[in-house]
Amino acid sequence: MADTYISINEKVKADIIFCGSGMNNFPVAALGGRLKYMKGANPPDIGPPFIVSNEEDLNQLYDKMENGAMDEDPIVQKIREATKMVVERVGDEVLVCMTAFGPFTYTGQFIGIENLMLNLAENPDFVHKVLKFSNKFHMKYYEPLIEDGVLKDQMVVITDPMSAPGLISRKSWEEYVLPYHKELCDYYSSKGSYIWLHVCGDWRQEDRWELIPKTGASIFFCDPKFDIGFAKEKLNGKICIGGNVDQVNVLNLGKPEDVKKSAIECLKAAAPGGGYMLSAGCDIPPTVPYDNVKMLIDMGRKTKYTDDGDIILPD
């Protein structure tokens, strides 16, 4: 697995290697979550029946986790090992991440997304209990790499698509997401790791962009559903931002020229003064043409800064 990551990156020359991408569901499976395998390159998803329907189930899950169910899982072991190997071999040249979902999304996987959404109104105490567990679960997943210092100066990931604007209200985000993200970010920061935060959706809604820096994350990746210029205006100096080249309409459906055009727009809007990483706005589909990926990375690589922080775009 580590060989694959490293050899692919020798070809595309990205600045970040995301280990375990598409495998965020395996830690849940290690505790008994049911994986639904897909054909082709599609990552498996967690399907029903869900493993937590009451507090008793949750207590059993705590026991399972404390008794090492995740550490004994061969796939979790593999993801952690691969991450460690990538750090050892190229960690000086690139930033290495191991990826995971965030607590709200994991809670959805434990109790079912629909159940989570209904329980926000009908049983909020239970939701908080599962969220608390999900945070412990997140930390447990990273534990060996954090304890050994493997991810020191590297990056931990919180990607929490189920808490997207449009799915839950700002009020719910403040109550059910922000404190849990903050707890995770505080913990990983104290261990010397950077934190990559991504939540899909349009963050202009209800001015909820204000909440992003409060998480304590190092970088926030912006979905193409809103303008990166807006993120730059609101978040500049508060948190590093990344994104938001459209992964479907541009990277998947477009041609290299379209990618170039979109990359230039993002760079012009967000790169001056620094604090910006050029990237796709979310996971890219497996059908994205190689030339489009290459174009995106080349555009970032060829863009230079002047001493004043202005950007010099490539021809």
Partner: protein, 218 residues
């Protein structure tokens, strides 16, 4: 409206009190309220839920609660509706829709909300579930003589199935028989145009509007 039970029924759907809607529908039936009036009341309530969602006052939780409250009431009303259809020899339904989440995709919330919203708007909806092989969509559409095939795909890895379905419809020589309506988080109008779908629904209530358009109703 002038009927306390119906007013209450509308309120519980809008507020998503799903435990309360069946008893109110039963009460309305017992009071002798016409089934059409009851279903219209419930549909109006769902419209309000949709408007609140569009305005950003409601989110998925409130939409789901509303849809559950609607469905719980609708289940009580269903036998009465069927009875009426038998008596009058058919109802003036807006169209027949086969709906499902594409193969390799097990997301069902959006699809379920679309089903409820379409049902509330008067469509006959055949929900064939999640992770549905493409052939099944066509089989079911043929079986129920559908007007529209509606596909949901929530992943960038599965959204391509919408294109595959359209290809399969062409290969089977039935592309012209059905309108294809698609939706799901990664899907856009541009994507829908690129794969040759007849319409794209941005959310459950947009899907209703698009379905009506496809049927020439608006």
């Amino acid at each position: 409206m002038g009927n306390e039970v119906l007013e209450k029924l509308q309120e519980v759907i809008i507020k998503g009190k799903r435990a309360d809607s069946p008893a109110l529908v039963t009460q309305a039936i017992e009071d002798g309220v016409d089934v059409d009036t009851i279903i219209n009341t419930m549909s109006d309530a769902m419209k309000v839920v949709g408007e609140k969602f569009s305005k950003g006052e409601y989110f998925i939780t409130e939409m789901l609660l509303g849809a559950h409250a609607f469905k719980a009431g609708f289940d009580v009303l269903r036998p009465k509706l069927e009875e009426k259809v038998k008596k009058t020899g058919g109802q003036s339904k807006k169209g027949v829709i086969v709906l499902g989440t594409v193969i390799n995709d097990i997301h069902d919330i959006g699809k379920n909300m679309v089903a409820s919203a379409l049902q509330a708007a008067g469509f006959e909806v055949h929900d064939i579930g999640i992770d549905v092989p493409l052939e099944k969509f066509i089989e079911k559409a043929e079986e129920v003589n559908a007007d529209i095939i509606a596909l949901s795909a929530l992943l960038t890895t599965t959204m391509g199935e919408t294109k595959n379905l359209i290809e399969l419809l062409k290969q089977s020589g039935v592309r012209e028989k059905y309108k294809v309506l698609i939706g799901g988080a990664p899907i856009s109008q541009k994507f829908a145009d690129a794969v040759g779908a007849d319409a794209y629904g941005e959310d459950a209530f947009d899907a209703v509007n698009k379905a009506k358009k496809l049927m020439g109703l608006s």
